[in-house]
Symmetry: D2
Subunit: 332 residues, 4 copies
């Protein structure tokens, strides 16, 4: 039984709490949450203790923690809990600064710590079925990966200010999926971005629309298309083109029905919220973490994955600034 402490009971913290409660082989022992009302409600719901972060770090009855606190605390907490000998699951990103990430990963390594980073898309059932089709050789050699990833709407402007911008906040998931699907590291990154949905996003120094093209050493390509606005829901698609075929994962609709009338055939919008869209993925993700802690095995998504995805975001930003292809080894 892996005994859990959860740090932070905001939106994503509660998603993980629910996952821990329902996964076999895991128990939700303690929560640290500064907002008292929220802390009390979650503790009642799951019957867990309320402790401070430091108390959890010092608790003998805690094997692992899930870090769901604000981004700027991630690196410090990872270091603290690795030093305390707890297995750590942390929401991405480790930090917005690549130097800080490197320093943090050094501590993880020195303490022989276990760190899993929250890239939930790797645990989505459809994306896994797609990856499995590739692994089974159904499309031959991977040649081109096309990722379409559009949010239903932009986040609040103050979130944008803290997020590190579209590439570090939103595209970072696509960068990770790109590596997963390509099966090799990208060598070059080109990005182009603009502000099309709301000028205020530009005023805050960010973009809402972006395209990225990446190439590996063997000439494989990946393109990413991002927008902060998709009226038809949360648009999350992958297409991988290979030497003997292609495989694609389509959007999940609100319901699997079709209405036909004088206007034609209508199907419902896609699920429009990342927590609804990725419900199964979040549960599978925690289950994978529990398995790796229980087995003492390396977690499926590591700090190195977080570092590489962040470096790709840096490369994209440099590409936009200098209007050129950037080699990833200029960053890493």
């Amino acid at each position: 039984m892996v005994r859990f402490g959860v740090l932070g009971a905001g939106r994503i913290g509660q998603v993980h709490a629910q996952a821990i409660a329902s996964v076999k082989g895991a128990s939700f022992v303690a929560l640290a949450e500064p907002v008292e009302a929220v802390a009390k409600q979650v503790a009642d719901e799951y019957g867990c203790d309320l402790r401070s972060i430091d108390e959890i770090a010092g608790s003998d009855d805690i094997d692992a923690v899930v870090i769901c606190t604000p981004t700027d605390t991630h690196a410090d907490l990872i270091e603290q809990f690795c030093k305390a000998g707890k297995a750590v699951f942390c929401e991405k990103p480790i930090d917005l600064d690549i130097g800080r990430v490197r320093a943090c990963l050094k501590v993880v390594e020195e303490t022989d710590g276990t760190l899993m980073l929250g890239f939930q898309r790797r645990f989505d059932p459809d994306f896994n079925a797609l990856r499995k089709a590739i692994d089974e050789g159904r499309i031959g050699e991977v040649e081109m990966v096309t990722l379409t990833s559009r949010d239903p709407g932009a986040p609040p402007l103050d979130y944008i200010d803290r997020s590190g911008g579209i590439f570090r906040d939103m595209t970072i998931h696509d960068f990770d999926v790109a590596r997963w699907m390509l099966g090799e590291e990208v060598e070059t990154v080109y990005a182009s971005a603009s502000v099309l949905t709301d000028p205020a996003i530009g005023d805050h120094g960010d973009y809402d629309s972006a395209n990225v093209t990446m190439r590996t050493a063997t000439g494989k390509h990946c393109t990413i298309t991002n927008s902060r606005r998709a009226t038809y829901g949360y648009d999350q698609r992958i297409e991988v083109h290979g030497s003997t075929g292609s495989v694609s994962a389509e959007n999940t609709l609100e319901a699997n029905i079709t209405v036909a009338d004088a206007n034609g055939y209508q199907r419902p919008p896609t699920l429009d919220f990342f927590m609804t869209r990725y419900t199964a993925a979040y549960a599978n993700e925690i289950a994978a973490f529990v398995r790796s802690v229980a087995d003492g095995a390396a977690p499926p998504t590591t700090g190195e994955d977080g570092l590489r995805a962040l470096a790709m975001a840096e490369a994209a930003l440099l590409s936009i600034k200098e209007k050129r292809e950037v080699r990833l080894d200029e960053i890493l």
Copy 2:
């Protein structure tokens, strides 16, 4: 070169005229059409002669005729032209009276005539691809055929009066497709019908909504669903369920596009007119007739096919009257 006379230049006559003009190995020599303006216009368009029906029957430069005159003239004309030694293509039905059909087919036989009946669905590319999948063994043994056939709207009431009713006019196409798909004759027919779209149809002694269930001697089933109203276009679908799989032919939409917006995903309606929906089928049908005339081979759809489909319509009507399963051998 098969030299054609066309009898009647109404809507369907012009469809066949165009097919003859475009099919290799066929030439459109003469037209018989009582409405002078129409006759002249079609003759100008295709550069064909205008002759009377009797003149065409007596013409040495005519090998084959296409009969597109009103239904109550079909049987007489078939007999006249078989006796005149011309190959005959006739729009279904031969006659609304099954005795008259039998008598006509006897003349065809006695004159060693060539008669092809116009069941254009047998020449539809999608339905043929479906039939081919069955022939290739992709679904194993056929077990259940499901036909959905709905018109965009009801025909005029005076047409209904002359048509012999929904089973002889509309379902007759499905009866023929049922035989084609089942690959064996049906033994029993049950039908249920009602008036749902327009009470006037009931006042004229007909139905607008019908379901038919048929069973063969080996226990295979076919169900037919008909309606005179489908707001989303001309609904023409086939599904064949077999021992190792199923195959279905879907509707053809006005365009192969999808619009996604806040209401979800929208595709255009189906093609909503039988001549648009079956454009390719009508051309293939005449081409098949030309080939059979040129090769002296039996045509792919015969008078016997017309007789059997009509008998199934009779059985459906008797079933409704007596609220029971009717054996086809009660009719034939």
Copy 3:
């Protein structure tokens, strides 16, 4: 909090146990299960007590029971627990004999009991989205309901012997859905059936392939197509045709991906097991029961629903025997 006793921990019993454990407002207090090993394992998993059926009936800390015992015990247990003042959820059917069902429902009525019958399809998210589209007027007046329901494979022969045959065991779900979708009672029933997948099923007096056509007093139709064999998974589709449009619910596939290669486009089979296919439906069903018990409201599916669906099965059997349309009032 609704406190539950579960009677029987077989396959479906465990499905309901899991639902009770996860639904808010419900607690799983006691289990009665004769097979000791199974009883112990389930009790360990959910931390519930093990009691006899009679003990559960006499327990003050039990508000409701879920009956998942063999069919021939259902009626007796419903009566026992209604008399004991417990709310009852029972898997369909109440009994294979319609007289016994009537007698049982009389007891439910006399004891003012709460009885919900397990027709899980009414709680399927897609079928509910379809029903909602109808309620919102998106297809106008319902005219024709088409239900396709095919099992991946036949059950064991000894199950068939106990099941009451395909109409009472399998089609009964479709009969219930037909009533739900038509929005009015059927007046006539016609059925046709055969043995196509395995002669042994015929030797045991049952069918494996069936078609049913039903008509309401206002002329609405419903057709049901059943087979015990579908190689592509569990085939569960509904199409409702109305005066201004149609709505359909399609199958749920194993994954939402498509592989394109030299053979064309491939999508995965449908979910092939009723418990996987209806996972969400079973959870929603228990949640609905909990709500109705908590609120003292009538449950959404009642004993009357079970009686009517059974009567439709009886009518289908009589129709096959007498090769005619049967009026439901000949049975009820």
Copy 4:
């Protein structure tokens, strides 16, 4: 009646000959074709004269010509026929050299000539339905255009040598579609390409896999994905994302059927040859040319369109060479 001369009766010449023969208001008067056997066969088929190119240029009974000769003759012939006062339809490209194109277009202007360039995709029914959806405001403002265009297989190496490479030969169609869909000119072009399907293509100085990203002055994006290999047929898709929705045009399959079996659901491959895929487009294209000649109106695709698409190809090549974004005004 527009009277046509056709120059060249190769593959595409015969496509256009057939289109001229079937379009109302056009007549196929004369053919110039150096290969005698081909010339004779086509002349027999369509009953047209055989003349030399110069004879056609000097013929009083010719109003318009269709140029289907090798690329390196296009510019000279356009000039010759504009000077001769004939309306000119020419297959793309005008020339592989942008300077030669400019010089040619100057002659067209000075002679007040009519020149339509063969970008047949603009006449595809599905792409037009998509464009119409945009024009009707169904997706709001266009923001991002995604073009996927993959050939079933690479052309012969000697064709590649003459073609000017993938961007001038294949992507050029996408460049034209990009302009059509964006509704404004692109300002920047970035391209990345590699050799993945056959090293011989690289040995001949060309690429087989390419991605292009373009941006307009207002920040709209277009990405193009090309490959010379798609095992599942001829992959031709467009997706346009706008401020209130998205619209996409999907591939046309060989038949509109689905086979379901133990492996899942199978649909046929896409039409795998550009002439089959774009049959309707080629016919509509000639019809549009005939209309513009008959009405004395400007043709829908002009020499300027050809120049701009070629400039985009040049920009792509420069981008690959210099690994940077290229401004189109560096070329034009």
